[in-house]
Amino acid sequence: MSDPWKSTERRLLELLADRAAFGLERHEEQEFRELLQMVPGFDTECMERAAATVQLACTSVEPMPAAVRARVRRSAPQPANQRRS
């Protein structure tokens, strides 16, 4: 007999995988939200991390140009203003 918790988790993982790779259709988003209510605390970022691993494996890192870095640095708020809320 199948374990309903496991099948719910499995479906959630499938939807999270689809979302990380391709995005979800509206009806899939709805299904995802409904299933998520059945599994409180489910790690909804697990597939995004897996996708990030793929991206990291495929990315050839090149230096950020100094001008871009300076622009980003200028626009960065002071760290003291960015404490977690």
Partner: protein, 186 residues
């Protein structure tokens, strides 16, 4: 255990912002260049991504992911949002080459390279067909139908390989879906 760089950013360490830019600026820039059609778009994207990184630094958990993975995840999320907003402008024209950074920066890229090498090791443990569809979807941004056309695989098979590949990667990363590190799936 000393705090990670992102934990220091979250704890208002004044030097941590600069260190973070030095260590991960190249990674974020490279991701932005891949997914943004124009140089100025890539610049804007990098700025947006780092603002997100500052905001979310306190949520980083070294037990769940490496800093490079966490930053890549934030960058992807922001870049996909931008891509969807500007989809009509999509253009695959490669961007011009940029200036090379300092030797000190090169050390940081090496660290990222080691992280990337670990990611590639994980990828090598997938089936070739899973690896292929994941590279096409995640690295090249192809839709399911584009991948099906490119690989001559049925649409459903593309979806199955993608799911299996990502679920397998999640297991290889050793993180349980309900909040903890387990060394494998349930």
């Amino acid at each position: 255990m000393p705090p990670t760089l992102l934990q220091r950013v979250a704890d208002a360490d004044a030097a941590a912002v600069d260190e973070c830019l030095g260590k991960y600026g190249g990674l974020v820039w490279s991701l932005a260049r891949r997914m943004c059609p124009r140089h100025e778009d890539a610049e804007d994207a990098v700025q947006e991504i780092f603002v997100e990184i500052w905001r979310n630094a306190g949520k980083f958990d070294p037990e769940v992911a490496s800093e490079a993975t966490y930053i890549t995840m934030i960058a992807r999320r922001r870049l996909i949002d931008r891509y969807r907003r500007h989809r009509r402008d999509l253009d695959t024209t490669p961007l011009e080459e940029e200036a090379v950074g300092s030797d000190a920066e090169h050390e940081k890229w090496t660290e990222i390279s080691e992280e990337a090498a670990r990611a590639r090791e994980h990828m090598q443990q997938l089936r070739p067909e899973e690896r292929q569809v994941l590279e096409l979807s995640i690295n090249h941004g192809m839709s399911q139908s584009q991948i099906a056309e490119t690989t001559n695989l049925p649409l459903g098979t593309v979806k199955t390989h993608t799911r299996r590949g990502l679920i397998r990667l999640r297991e290889l990363l050793g993180v349980d879906s309900v909040g903890g590190v387990t060394g494998g799936g349930r």
